[in-house]
Symmetry: C2
Subunit: 677 residues, 2 copies
């Protein structure tokens, strides 16, 4: 990794020397895979290209999205199979707001520095917020007279107030302007601002004018106390809890994986770790080596979290609008945070940095944004055989997993996003929630005083942890042994035995498989009837004739509880089913729509699939919703211990047999001291 | 651990010196906890006491169960709170078959070596099989003329045939005798006998006479080939799969837990690891230290897997009866196997041995039956705060878990049973399946040849992996801050907004809690309507007034697919619901009944709960069913990579706040060489 960084720096220098003028920097040789995220140089070049089209002054240009425009899948696959080094031509996709009103979508050819196409977005919905405008917006209340008055009125010190911003949602308005709700907090005595809301104040800021346009100071609820809310060890007083014993580890042969650019090779896996300012980590072109046929076989063209919908469940004036789309509104990649070596990731981890474009289009660097590490301690397979006389057999294979981790912190919540790969062919994506609850201040200190529905749990005095959901939707573009795949639901059904001469049983179960022909066939609410969900390649069979496939092993399913015609649910309609399948379409990346902020729900997965397109033996995408209904509890306060959920993508008749049958255990040893372990 | 063994040996020696005569060995001083499993000496003493009652000759006595008779819970709790060292008086419970027909249940006072009570079991159902009778039974076919002929007829060599035994189930017979079905396999060219069945032969052995009483040689199906079925590395030919890199670890301060007898102290947890020949590992008297009140608080009085029901789904003559109850018929503890250090458990693991009684009542030793280890690599909680101007905050706490692991191998399947404890108060039990499929031999080599339902997957030529289920039922005797607890279902419900002046939302969800008053109220099929399942102590509230509790966070729920009146389902009726709650009753330990072999289903959890007893604010037991419908796939062949599932018991308003807020990260370091890490 160090070497890689060194090379990277060298190459960067090289390009700087080769550069003739700003726009003509040619960073293409840094790219080793067509799905590599935009480099620092490419972002700079895209910035320059856009600003050449809209010179500033006289224009004002804000970059709301800058990312790799997906290369044609056929080109990527051709590139991958050809073994040529030069990836196909790269383009960037840009969403920029020009002169505070026009939303421009541009495609930029990176090599030629040309704007290939552009259009103006006129439909409802606004682009992802920039960090800079959020930063400007949250400073508005503290300079706004009426708010200063409200703060003084509450006996608070202005220097101890910080504000935060919240997207406003959409509630049937025919026309909207870009706006944010603002809410302020006391940081007096704590860094844990979210648990000390200064409530009773409604503030709306217009983002085009960057001014407060609505302001109401209503009820005054007490600000919950700072006591017991601090979480920084440096600010906590002893006694601390019993110490956990320390752990030292070592990989004498070094890590078992290699990272070349963004491409990973590990054990039998090869895949690419991409990054997008909106999606966060993207796993691409994952293939696994099949020892039977002596070659790597395609599994997953692309996998990422397409959207995260977090609707709060308090209908009151200060809370009803809180129905966040964390990827589309705040940017899952933009909200990624630097990982803390040794604590967020174990010592054997290697880290990747990322670059994204700031509001002015310039590249921003995020260090240690992604970590990759091997995890030990599990069992791959085992058997003890006691049934053969005079023979005792015990065969155990230890397991090693490879984990790709990132953390997305959108305001108060921290989402730990893991992709776990196993030599057995399983991919286990998981999500763990931590961070801080959003607290509603109330004049209640004990549940005895509760008369009406408080829409949450009294997690501490004056503090309601408001009910909410977390719905993550994964975009899983499987290419099982090729692009043309089918979606199969294997249903379980009870068969009644009618001829009691043939069996002493009265019943048994068997399966019947249904191939989904269209998008409607594939829509599935999990949990109500037993089934297995499999993506197969119907053109490829095992030697005994089973269709090769991968199975989705889901976790406990969650279903939406809002009315289907309620505004937030129309926008988050991709949660109406747990599983959806669409034909691959380059433009259908974001399950909640491309422009999600204040969207009307007319560009969601639920709308696209109304076309009821054919999905049999086609290049298809599986969409899977992982949902958590969150009833806060006192343990979530003042900071929440990880709550984890996940699922498994498991090879199912993909291999002729157990693919780790001939994978020996790694040497796993206790290392008592010096020398060779 | 070594020291402990040493002390144990010393004490053993001491007792041998003190012993006056066989029966009077007094091993009580070895016992440090009233729930300690019977010691080697105690088993010897119980054997002697029983044989004194039924001298051999003239009697024949076979011990089918020897275990600790549960001490009164009140006595155990009193002992635990009093701090006295001498545990209350211990008794053993014994099930013995005397003179091949009478099933005796005996309670034996260990101190006085007296039979306190005994009764003869006359109802349907037989005790757990002994290893010895299974061993005798499987040797019968090879000495049975017609079978020798059948084997010869198939061109097989008798020396390469091994047989295995299977419980016969119950299919409405009014009266039964103890019997086993026998099936033979070819071990020619493989140790993987289960995939090479010699089919077409039905053999029934009577266990009282230990003779074959039914024999039919029907159809002759080819024995599936040995090729690609071997799993022992020593018998596999290169090339092997890519090597996984090695890993060395070290705990410079030693492990963070201490084991004293069977009692564990680790971080904020204290609990007891028991063992029972039928249940396997039993977690008892688990309590967690609460830093707010400076004391340990009770959580779980006892948790173990009460039964495992594995019904196969082929109604045919050779398969219909395969509806196994692995705990009641084969003994989950009796089927535990020695763990392989470094491979089944990581290097930092410590091991516990166990003793159980053989068929003749003598103590049998199983080395390394249970391992305990700490696991690193996760995150306990984290937050990155970017919302406070001019301040960057990142606080991350690494997590450490404590895992108690055992492996139960019942014939072909290996069940990896983990109990994971977290400093945050969570207990995460998990089950991972490995081992070998039961294969049905068929004259089919390709799915194209399949005309009728084969009741499974063609996992290899001539080899059907037959459909089946695995239903594990956990007995979870919660004592949340005391014995009197209630079961609360928190239901989620959609509320429609009717007054649009009050909110722009059309809907939201809220919760309503139902306290189960009776056993019927508590029966729950999970997955059909959203709810949270909580055990609370209604007599104990947090300072803000929430009832203290623990929540069951379930995995995807499975429901039975057999007809409710089908014989196997009547016996396995405890799977009719995922969650059940009963008032604590010492005799209700085994969800499928005390005598499960050939039972009629009249002593199951489903029958007990028909009493519809009160369960509100009482000492209650939660029963939770984890089910897997298993459609085999080729990857499961010839040996299955781990398939894992699990659930979480999570403190929910049990603590005033996050209990690991003041738990610092352990030192986790990369140790590149010699010296102090």
């Amino acid at each position: 990794m160090k070497l890689f960084h060194y090379l990277f720096s060298l190459l960067t220098l090289l390009f700087l020397f080769q550069a003739k003028e700003g726009v003509s920097i040619s960073p293409l040789q840094l790219i080793t895979h067509p799905l590599d995220p935009l480099t620092k140089q490419e972002i700079t070049l895209v910035q320059a290209t856009v600003l050449k089209k809209y010179p500033t002054p006289p224009n004002h240009v804000f970059f709301h999205y800058v990312g790799l425009d997906d290369p044609d899948k056929t080109h990527v696959l051709k590139w991958a199979s050809s073994g040529t080094k030069t990836p196909p031509q790269r383009s960037a996709f840009v969403v920029a707001i020009v002169n505070n009103s026009q939303i421009h979508e541009l495609i930029i050819n990176i090599k030629s520095s040309n704007v290939v196409s552009y259009k103006i977005h006129l439909d409802p919905g606004f682009p992802t917020l920039t960090l800079e405008e959020q930063s400007l917006a949250i400073s508005l209340p503290l300079k706004y007279g009426p708010d200063v008055e409200s703060i003084n009125k509450r006996g608070l010190n202005l220097s101890e107030v910080v504000c935060s911003c919240f997207t406003v949602g959409w509630y049937g308005e025919a026309k909207s302007t870009r706006a944010l709700r603002l809410e302020c907090f006391s940081k007096n005595g704590t860094a844990n601002i979210y648990v000390r809301p200064i409530s009773g104040i409604n503030i709306l800021a217009d983002l085009d004018t960057m001014k407060i346009v609505e302001y109401h100071d209503n009820v005054v609820e007490p600000v919950p106390k700072a006591e017991n809310t601090e979480y920084r060890a440096s600010h906590l007083k002893p006694p601390f809890s019993p110490r956990l014993h320390s752990f030292a580890s070592h990989q004498p042969e070094g890590p078992g994986f290699t990272i070349k650019g963004h491409s990973i090779s590990w054990a039998n896996w090869k895949f690419h770790i991409g990054y997008d300012v909106r999606a966060g980590v993207i796993i691409s072109t994952a293939s696994i080596y099949d020892p039977e046929v002596h070659k790597s076989r395609q599994v997953l063209y692309r996998g990422y979290i397409s959207e995260l919908f977090v609707p709060y469940q308090d209908p009151g004036e200060e809370w009803y609008y809180k129905t966040f789309f964390d990827a589309g509104e705040f940017g899952f990649g933009q909200s990624m945070v630097s990982l803390e070596p040794l604590h967020d990731c174990p010592p054997q981890a290697q880290f990747l940095d990322v670059y994204f474009a700031a509001s002015d289009g310039s590249p921003q660097h995020l260090e240690n944004a992604i970590c990759v590490f091997e995890q030990y301690g599990g069992i791959s397979w085992r058997h003890t055989e006691s049934g053969i006389p005079n023979e005792q057999i015990r065969e155990v294979r230890s397991d090693v997993s490879l984990i790709v981790r990132s953390v997305v912190t959108v305001g108060n919540y921290d989402n730990v996003i893991d992709w776990e790969f196993k030599p057995s062919g399983s991919i286990k994506p998981s999500i763990s929630l931590s961070g801080i609850l959003e607290i509603k201040a109330v004049d209640i200190t004990h549940t005895d005083q509760i008369k009406d529905d408080q829409h949450g749990t009294l997690v501490s005095e004056h503090s309601i942890g408001v009910y909410h959901d977390h719905y993550y939707i994964y975009h899983l573009d499987f290419d099982i042994d090729g692009v043309d795949n089918s979606f199969v639901k294997t249903n379980f059904k009870t068969v009644q035995v009618t001829d009691y001469n043939s069996s002493k049983r009265k019943s048994y179960w068997t399966t019947s498989s249904e191939v989904a022909k269209t998008e409607s066939d594939a829509k599935t609410k999990l949990g109500f009837s037993p089934s297995e969900i499999v993506i197969v390649n119907p053109n490829k069979k095992t030697s005994t004739g089973n269709e090769v496939g991968y199975r989705l092993v889901p976790n406990a399913a969650s279903h939406p509880l809002l009315r289907e015609d309620d505004y937030p649910q129309r926008r988050g309609a991709f949660t109406n089913y747990n599983v959806w399948v669409t034909p691959y379409n380059k433009t259908e990346k974001w399950a909640g729509g491309l422009f999600v902020d204040q969207s009307h729900g007319d560009d969601t997965l639920a709308v696209w699939t109304k076309q009821n397109r054919g999905i049999e033996n086609k290049d298809i995408v599986l969409w899977y919703v992982v949902g958590i209904h969150h009833v806060p509890c006192q343990e979530d306060f003042p900071i929440m211990p990880l709550l984890s959920t996940g699922f498994e993508l498991r090879p199912t008749n993909f291999f002729e047999r157990n693919p780790v049958l001939k994978t020996l255990s790694p040497d796993i040893v206790k290392w008592p001291g010096c020398g060779k372990p």
